[in-house]
């Protein structure tokens, strides 16, 4: 393994790096303990960074040729740390060593020159360009943009089993394919150490497995992968080493074989592990929300009108959580907006607690008792530059304690904000700070607190724990469960299948604007649900070999 480290002097041309990868692969890596310099070594990294918990005294050693997972709550400082390693942030203290050599990165370009590449959580691809064009974009110096570049791209793709088709437009690719393009993009630039920021967040289980196969391939070729996640099961299945970060510092380094997801989670949170399970049923016979034959068409950018919601019908009873599974972009967002009154459906009815609200204005619906935890909290849930107490008023300006008659009651609103901050454990120095200065989890706790404070009859929770740390996640789940016991009806939309299965009383699968399948959360597995989400199954999903009754029946 020493030759792997020694060869990785930054001056190497990318083509040479390719050769060295081949050399490395001839001697199976990882198992033999590398006495040589580690691929990445971070010592005493401290960073005071706005909005999130500061990194302090972080120490991580990443062995070459391994998949090293970095786990921790959101806001624990993982992303900051990776930005430091990738040259996007400068550490206030501490050292970074790459292959035993101390470095200082002023920009990502420096990091790339040292063979470090990053795949961001949100893809950075130009939709209207082909895969090949996206890959060479910005790296034209390496192999030009012509035949040589194509050859190089195919070479890299083959070597790591990425199966990338160079001439397809990125807009025609699915999420998993796009991710492979991103990985290839990084490899093409000669990366020997890849940072993947929550790569599985956007994938369905089958795609996750494929990604992990790719990662193992990379590892076998002697590359190093730094993998950020908070999905512990995945981490345990793919990582060779795991470093746990809590509240800005490294709290433990563990080996997957010697730990369980539960132990790992406890290390992350520093306390007992939460679980989304709700098994005792609180479902009643009283319908709270009935949606019948809901239809909504929208004009897409090409000017073609198509149905984004088609024949949607379901009933949520008091005390029931209805979960909707589906790959994003299949109409979930539109369904939520139709129920919230932000889009006017062109067919069908929505009945809340016996009253027809199909075309009622949003404010009326809110006053009538719909609570809303939006998918995109920055766009729909918060006024980022306004203080917390104004955010507490947002959406409930006509209700107590925020106003009396037509006048605002600033004193009461402020006092109630203090209450929410305390009761919902929003970590903030005060209620005069802007919402933008809180971390994601704390913003979400504020939103949930605000919505719950008005005792809704129906709660629409779209990805309620996305980008939220484990501690806050448990709290939000608890609140939903508690309200459900008191008769709250919940429409839950989530990409986190464990959350969906764990919290829901009833499950529906949405595909291309229709509810194509239903399932019993007590028996269904994430894998079965995942395959139904791709449109491979419809009807009632049974847990067993005959799980998918009909294949592709719902595809159109």
């Amino acid at each position: 393994m020493s030759e792997g480290g020694a060869l990785h002097r930054p001056a190497l041309a990318p083509s040479l790096r390719g050769e060295c990868a081949i050399t490395a692969s001839s001697s199976p890596p990882a198992e033999r303990a590398p006495a040589a310099a580690p691929a990445v070594e971070l010592r005493g990294i401290t960073k005071r960074f706005p909005g999130v918990v500061a990194n302090h005294d972080i120490g991580i050693t990443v062995r070459r040729g391994t998949v090293h997972a970095l786990v921790g709550e959101n806001g624990a400082g993982k992303s900051t740390l990776m930005k430091i390693l990738y040259g996007m942030q400068k550490p206030d203290e501490g050292t970074i060593a790459i292959d035993g050599e101390q470095v200082s990165f002023a920009s990502p370009a420096d990091a790339i020159a040292r063979g470090i590449g990053m795949v961001h959580q949100h893809f950075m691809l130009a939709d209207n360009l082909t895969v090949l064009e996206n890959i060479v974009l910005g790296a034209e110096k390496l192999h030009g943009i012509g035949a040589a570049a194509r050859k190089a791209v195919l070479e890299v793709s083959d070597r790591y089993g990425l199966n990338v088709r160079p001439d397809v437009l990125v807009e025609d690719l699915g999420v998993a394919d796009r991710q492979r393009v991103e990985i290839l993009k990084v490899l093409y630039r000669g990366a020997r150490t890849l940072i993947l920021d929550e790569p599985t967040a956007v994938l369905v289980p089958q795609e996750v497995d494929a990604l992990f196969d790719n990662l193992r391939e990379l590892k076998a070729e002697g590359l190093t992968v730094l993998f950020i996640s908070h999905k512990l099961g995945e981490v345990l299945s793919v990582a060779d080493d795991i470093t746990v970060i809590r509240r800005g510092t490294t709290v433990a380094s563990v080996v997957p074989g010697e730990t369980t997801p539960k132990q790992l989670a406890e290390l992350m949170v520093g306390s007992e592990l939460p679980s989304p399970e709700t098994r005792e049923s609180t479902v009643t016979d009283t319908p709270m929300l009935t949606v019948d034959g809901l239809h909504l068409s929208a004009t897409d950018p090409d000017g073609v009108a198509r149905a984004v919601l088609d024949g949607i019908g379901f009933t949520i009873h008091k005390g029931e959580v209805l979960g909707i599974a589906g790959v994003e972009g299949n109409g979930q967002a539109e369904l939520v907006e139709a129920i919230m009154g932000m889009r006017d459906p062109d067919g069908g009815t929505i009945t809340l607690d016996g009253a027809d609200i199909s075309h009622a204005p949003t404010r009326k619906r809110r006053e009538d008792g719909i609570g809303y935890v939006p998918e995109d909290r920055h766009r729909h849930g918060l006024l980022l530059e306004a203080p917390l107490w104004e955010n507490r008023i947002l959406g409930h300006v006509t209700e107590k304690p925020n106003s009396r008659g037509r006048l605002l009651d600033l004193k009461a609103a402020r006092a109630d904000t203090e209450r929410i901050v305390t009761e919902y454990d929003v970590r903030t120095p005060g209620i005069e700070v802007t919402a933008a200065s809180l971390s994601g989890g704390n913003q979400q706790k504020l939103i949930v607190g605000r919505e719950m404070s008005h005792h809704p009859k129906l709660l629409i929770a779209a990805h309620p724990t996305r980008g939220v740390d484990v501690g806050a996640q448990a709290q939000i789940w608890d609140q939903i469960r508690e309200a459900r016991r008191e008769g709250l009806a919940v429409l839950l939309i989530s990409a986190d299948l464990d959350e969906l299965i764990g919290l829901s009383d009833t499950l529906r699968v949405m595909f291309r604007g229709r509810l194509v399948a239903d399932a019993d959360p007590a028996t269904i597995t994430p894998e079965e649900l995942g395959s139904a989400m791709t449109g491979a199954a419809s009807g009632h999903l049974e847990h067993a070999e005959d799980g998918a009754e009909t294949g592709g029946g719902a595809a159109e």
Binding site: R48, F49, P50, G51, V52, V53, A54, H56, R246, R247, G248, T249, V251, G270, M340, G341, M342, P361, T362, R363, K364, R365, R366, E367, Y372, P374, R379, H380, G381, L382, L383, L384, E385, A386, E390, I393, L394, G395, H396, V397, T398, S403, R406, L407, L408, L410, R427, T428, P429, G430, E432, V433, T434, A436, S437, L438, S439
Partner: protein, 368 residues
């Protein structure tokens, strides 16, 4: 908590101070470049501006400026750029003058009537832009600019002999208002202050109260900060656009009133133009704050008053225009810089405080 408040206060003062210092420096350099002494210019301005007749002049000049800034600021607070305040106040003043000139009612009836007509006409004119924006998606910037030209053309059409105007020398103007319609003045030495100062103050307080203390004002500010969040929060964005354009137009309708009811008593070809654009600069200068805009309006009046004196001292007459431009630029930049810096400081502070908390609890856990 207290620390953040203190920072906020410091930053609040830092922005205007920074802007004024920068503006003075830049203006000095410009004056130096023309080969004159900047310090002497400032001395002349301060000296002349502090004379009591200058003070009265400045305050009277500031009244319409302030009203104009309020009209613009209503739009700004909800992210609408009503660049058409100019056309709105002119057409409003014109029709108010026509109505006022045609009637002879007691003052306590006629003056409110004239003011109401002006506000209504201003609202309608601004409302056109609001309706076009909500129904057809036309940017209010475009429509209000075009409505400025249309207003000028409409006034030009009616301001002719035989239509709605009378000829007076080589000027055309609407028939004079009866003496009962003259607005009161506040007797001061050497000249009286315009009574409309009181109206401007009342409108300023109303602006502050409605925006800061009412549900409606909260909705309006919410739309200004984030249209998507406002919509999700139950605000009808379209209705809000129209309402705020109507309000902005109504405020614009007041701009011409000090002149109509207190100086000219008619709308003629020499009626002041361009106050709507001055209002944009002052709203920017005052950061849409009722007191800030008052200070801005006074500063504008001061510069215009003392600028005339600079000419006598052999400075270029354009220097005042340059100063005004430099000040607006400096203020806008300084506030943005300070705002971003403040946000960063705050985020850092929140991060640090939470990290400190976390360290404490972590240590407890580790030792446990």
């Amino acid at each position: 908590m207290k620390k953040i408040d203190r920072t906020k206060l410091t930053l609040g003062i830092a922005a205007p101070v920074l802007a004024i210092v920068a503006a003075l420096l830049i203006t000095s350099v410009i004056i130096l470049a023309t080969g004159k002494d900047p310090l002497h210019a400032y001395a002349v301005m301060v000296d002349f501006g502090s004379k009591s007749d200058s003070q009265v002049w400045i305050i009277n000049k500031a009244v319409p400026y302030y009203l104009s800034a309020l009209a613009v600021a209503i739009g700004f607070r909800m992210n609408l750029f009503n660049i058409g305040v100019d056309g709105q106040y002119r057409i409003a003043a014109f029709f108010a003058a026509v109505v006022g000139g045609a009637l002879t009612l007691p003052g306590f009836l006629q003056i409110p009537l004239i003011i109401i007509v002006a506000m209504l006409v201003g609202s309608v004119w601004a409302g056109i832009a609001g309706v076009l924006k909500t129904t057809r998606g036309v940017s209010e910037v475009i429509t209000t600019i075009m409505l400025n030209s249309i207003a000028a053309a409409v006034i030009g059409y009616f301001l002719q002999e035989g239509r709605l105007a009378v000829k007076d020398g080589n000027l055309f103007h609407t028939p004079d208002l009866p003496a009962s319609s003259h607005f009161f003045t506040i007797p001061t030495q050497p000249d009286p202050l315009d009574g409309f100062l009181v109206v401007a103050a009342v409108v300023g307080v109303a602006y502050w109260f409605v925006l800061g203390r009412t549900r409606f004002g909260f909705d309006l500010r919410t739309v200004g900060r984030s249209e998507s969040a406002a919509q999700a929060g139950g605000v009808s964005v379209k209705r809000m656009v129209i309402t705020s354009m109507l309000l902005s137009g109504a405020a614009a309708g007041l701009i011409g009133m000090p002149t109509l009811l207190g100086v000219s008593y008619n709308y003629g070809t020499d009626f002041p133009v361009g106050i709507g654009f001055t209002g944009i600069a002052i709203a920017l200068l005052g950061r849409n704050h009722p007191l800030g805009m008052a200070a801005g309006a006074l500063l504008w009046g001061f510069l215009e008053r003392t600028g005339t004196q600079l000419e006598f001292e052999d400075y270029e007459q354009e220097i005042v225009g340059v100063m005004q431009g430099v000040i607006v630029l400096c203020v806008v930049i300084a506030y943005e810089v300070v705002r971003r810096y403040g946000l960063r400081i705050q985020q850092r502070k929140v991060g640090e405080e939470l990290a400190a908390q976390a360290r404490k609890t972590d240590k407890a856990e580790v030792s446990a």
